[in-house]
Symmetry: C2
Subunit: 474 residues, 2 copies
């Protein structure tokens, strides 16, 4: 939708060199071709400025940003010189967060001011936020009063709030206008309107949104139709709303855009679905990474960054592993009498860990999509208990049989079978109760549930198996 | 954007009873209030048809669908009678997959035919696909020839293809038209156009898309401007493209809609971003669940469904746990000489499992977002090796110190430290190489990686710790 000017020329001139390059640049799946990245690196190594500019001009902003993500810092800085000023704004917006901070340091303040003026207020504020303090002051001082105020207002909202996500540019019309008046107004004031918009917000005299007219509906209606007659109800977003909630609302009601209101109910901006696609990707990625105990570091991260991003989780896990070991330690005597116990005990713990993770993952997803609430909480807990007992029973039979044959000891088979039922039940309970409790207490269940659940399944697994062995076998 | 007619009346009449009910229905976060669901259940128990209809009429289709998701099957069937025929189509489209199949069975074929006629071709095809064979034939036979053909064409495309995702209704215009001609045409043929559209596709005489004019750009331009001058290049989607690829393209280029072409390059439909939001949710959910080894069953699933959805993964895990046990078994002699080995060995395996899962999760995400490709593969592998060695070293020191104090045995501390380095390195290597290899072989790395990685970390963990103990301590 938003290619740069170079692409547009390429298209209207038909099949020319730039278009050939674009075909080369992207695979059938629209991902950057590794061969193309090599071509860029080679041209940079040769110092071939003409070729480099040609290669970059053939790409859309999102692809240049992707290219930069694959390059090392030195090549990235070199590329910067060849980017057309008008393309810079969009490329900066598209860069991975980690890379952007780094690239922004290398862009001259004057170029940055020009780039920021090209962007919608939400994207501009994002960029300014990533600047270092000194540079931010310098850049803001060089901007027009209006642009500066708009960016500062945006930055005053919380980091993941609707206020930050919205763009301040909207197309609003009073309720008494007709379709014809609205179309004429849009044509006259084209320059002051957002680049793209999908809904016209109908507002009352106090600028409170009353409804919305999708642009296609406006086009389909007769010129003398009052907006009031064709407007549809709107789902209002308030500036303080969390972006995760905004994404939920967009997804639920299939919104393309929504008006954002301040606490007084006045229309102050709009959020469009293309911003939401990014939020959804981000939020689901956060859950996935949080469950595995890693934080996002980006493809450009150093070894030290990555090591640190994993260290703390492993340290916590070490604590719980030592706790589990101390349980085993309490049964040293039993193990030295019957080494088979040491051989078999990891099976019980491992099955519990996996069953717990299964339950936990489903619960975290259901909480995120609001499919698990107080309405079906009890029902879901009972179902998990039943599932734990059923799978526990099934695997008690499996593993009981295997162990009976392996060690020629039916009693040992009985012990591990009983421990399996107990631990899969514990896994089910912990898998559902831990995330529910964390959610109730106001914590993100994705972030900390895993460690609690695996601690439960390790401790219960070792304790039940070894404890039953002492009672029954020794 | 798409509330039902009841809402519209409520809005234009100001703050009336229906609006009060809507306020009651949804929390501040737009999720259904549990209290509201209780009210529905109570009204159903009392057989209070008037109240039930009132409660349902206050909700938008997406909320009715959500409500049905929280109710048990009996209540759900009861509700069905109170749903206005014109709302039924959208509610059916919004229902969870599992619940929809069940609800569709209860809807009379005649009502279904009417509902299908209200929907865009993609949504209609989705519904028809979920029907049982007998009912599908009956419903298709009762539809108009045009609708039937359109649904059958849609169903002929692969299940997760762009062809299935697209709607056949598009607004196309020849390149020589002006803005004014286009607006007049849209107004004249309003009934034949899609309900909502965001781009006008400019086509050549063979109906190949040449570019797109966003509706807001059309509105801003003068009536005598030729479309050719204001059109922007389009990103073409082909009918066979996988929906995951389509989502990647929409996310990358921030598309609102895109034209879909057949193998001959003719425009045959369009995909809009609201369909893509659903796909993105679906795909990231699939990755998350696959990594944990569960399949989606829905909130309505029976105990048996859920048990089965988890059984196979646990069975595979049992196999790998038994494999790990057989490694331990080979060291029975060592363990009976030194029970401390049994106490400590789970620490090594557990740390490896966690480190492997961290690496694996990051790699699976990077592959899905195309941030890991052959360009940075080697670099990423080296980085993971370095991270494994660094964290391995750090935890070797931690755990070595703990064990030395705990068991007053520096050599035992040395053994577990060495095993820790080896296993965290193995975890890093397996965590990156397993998903890369599966991807190369054409498998989904999210689905099967976890089991391979944890097998490696279990086997290497036990073998290295017990093996080193035999070499150094005994």
């Amino acid at each position: 939708m938003t290619r740069n000017a170079g692409d547009l020329t390429a298209l209207s001139q038909g099949h020319n060199r730039a278009e050939d390059l674009e075909d080369l640049a992207l695979g059938d799946d629209y991902a950057l071709n590794p061969a193309y990245i090599d071509m860029v690196v080679e041209a940079a190594d040769r110092g071939d400025a003409v070729r480099l500019r040609e290669l970059i001009d053939a790409l859309r902003p999102a692809d240049v940003a992707d290219l930069m993500g694959f390059l090392s810092a030195e090549y990235r800085y070199e590329l910067l010189a060849f980017i057309a000023p008008e393309a810079l704004a969009e490329i900066l917006s598209e860069l991975d967060y980690h890379i952007r901070e780094d690239v922004l340091e290398k862009v001259a303040p004057a170029a940055l001011v020009r780039a920021l003026e090209e962007l919608d207020s939400d994207d501009a504020a994002d960029l300014v936020e990533d600047l270092e303090d000194d540079k931010r002051d310098e850049v803001l001082a060089a901007m027009s009063e209006a642009d500066r105020t708009s960016i500062q207002t945006s930055l005053a909202y919380g980091e993941e709030s609707a206020g930050r996500l919205m763009q301040r540019e909207v197309m609003a019309a009073p309720q008494f206008w007709t379709v014809g008046q609205t179309i004429d107004h849009i044509r006259r004031s084209a320059d002051d309107l957002p680049d793209l918009f999908f809904d016209i917000y109908v507002v009352d005299p106090s600028y409170a949104p009353l409804g919305a007219v999708p642009v296609s509906v406006l086009l389909k209606s007769n010129r003398d139709t009052p907006l009031e007659l064709i407007m549809e109800p709107v789902t209002e977003i308030t500036v303080e709303m969390d972006q995760e909630e905004v994404a939920y609302i967009f997804d639920k009601y299939h919104l393309i855009s929504a008006p954002v209101t301040d606490p007084g109910g006045r229309l102050v901006g709009q959020i469009t679905v293309d911003d939401i696609v990014g939020v959804i990707q981000e939020e689901s990625q956060e859950d996935l990474l949080a469950l595995a105990g890693v934080t996002e570091t980006g493809r450009d991260a150093t070894v030290l960054d990555v090591t640190k991003s994993r260290f703390w989780w492993l340290l916590i896990n070490l604590g719980t592993a030592v706790l589990a070991s101390s349980v085993i330690s309490a049964f040293s005597g039993a193990i030295s009498q019957l080494v088979a116990l040491a051989v078999l005990m990891p099976i019980v713990a491992s099955m519990g860990g996996n069953a717990g993770t299964q339950t936990l993952t489903v619960a975290v997803r259901a909480l995120a999509t609001r499919e698990l609430s107080s309405v079906n909480m009890l029902r879901t807990i009972w179902r998990e208990i039943a599932v734990g007992l059923l799978n526990g029973g099934a695997f008690a039979l499996c593993v009981g049989a295997v162990v009976t044959f392996w060690f020629h000891d039916p009693l040992l088979g009985l012990v591990i079978g009983m421990a399996m039922v107990i631990n899969l039940l514990a896994a089910s309970l912990a898998g559902i109760l831990v995330p529910l409790t964390l959610e109730r207490l106001g914590y993100d269940p994705a972030v900390s549930s895993t460690v609690f659940v695996t601690t439960v399944t390790d401790v219960v697994g070792f304790f039940s198996f070894l404890g039953l062995a002492v009672l029954i076998l020794l």
